[in-house]
Symmetry: C2
Subunit: 168 residues, 2 copies
């Protein structure tokens, strides 16, 4: 990956904000960048989430949910003028003991190349840096194997049982 398409620290910070870092790319022609600082265009974010089959949510509510999230990660396809959002995930939590991962999405054009795993690894590293001990998530049945392969434990495992409640 450290090849002709690696980006300088200056370009990374200028375009993607502090702490941005390159993501190993499956394609030498494509540079990918993780960023927690680059603001999201909420329409672009909704398009990404819709591309993986999620229902649209009111932009005003999504904005507040993002503001209140502990961690928001964008995976960007680098372009000096028009970086494209090709992956996303966010976490909520208390910032200390536990966190829950939501809205993990990789655009269908970029799936199947290990980027989902890179994205999850990035998130777990960042949560680990905060000292968070336990991470949870709720997954659709179609991606259960994806998480099992990465060492996640499916609940109820005998130790803890997961519940779900809709207030609507």
């Amino acid at each position: 990956m450290i090849s002709f398409c690696s980006l300088t620290p200056e370009i990374l910070e200028e375009l993607y904000g502090r702490g941005a870092r390159q993501c190993p790319s499956p394609n030498d022609q494509v540079s990918l960048v993780f960023s927690q600082a680059k603001p999201f265009d909420l329409v672009e974010l909704e398009q990404l989430l819709a591309s993986v089959g999620w229902s649209r949510r009111p932009v005003r509510r999504v904005r507040r949910a993002l503001e209140n999230s502990l961690l928001k990660v964008g995976l960007w396809r680098h372009d000096p003028k028009f970086p494209r959002l090709v992956g996303f995930a966010r976490c909520t939590g208390d910032g200390v003991l536990e966190a829950t991962v939501w809205d993990v999405a990789v655009h269908p054009l970029y799936q199947g190349t290990g980027l989902g795993k890179q994205l999850m690894n990035y998130i777990l590293e960042e949560l680990s840096k905060m000292g968070i001990e336990e991470v949870t998530l709720f997954a659709d049945p179609g991606v259960v194997d994806f998480y099992l392969r990465q060492g996640w434990l499916l609940e109820p495992s005998g130790n803890r049982c997961a519940f779900w409640y809709s207030t609507q």
Copy 2:
């Protein structure tokens, strides 16, 4: 419950902060109060959590986790001088779309009288007021029936699957 031991709004606010409200009590001699505003003594909180069998956690980390929680509810046994913390729960979340309930505890001396259910109802009402659509929690096996009886859905239910990951 609206009997000789009901508390005036003035006493409720003075002792337990804004928005405090009485919890139906199983015993006329005991007044119980839900409060989100009354500060916790972290030693008393740890004693409560230890009384239901949870391991102790560093106070400094618990303080930060509380600060970062979306909702913290104390259930107090009223006393004009020394209110006692007999129940507790907290939620994390984005304040908009979803919340997760953690650390639900009712002191063993007060269990078996419906207070756990009252506490959960209180929390779900407060989350509903915020407009939160989905609430999740992780439960120990011993209290699975408790949540099932209250309308929670055990995962994986076919719709969503819960995962768990320890970073330690």
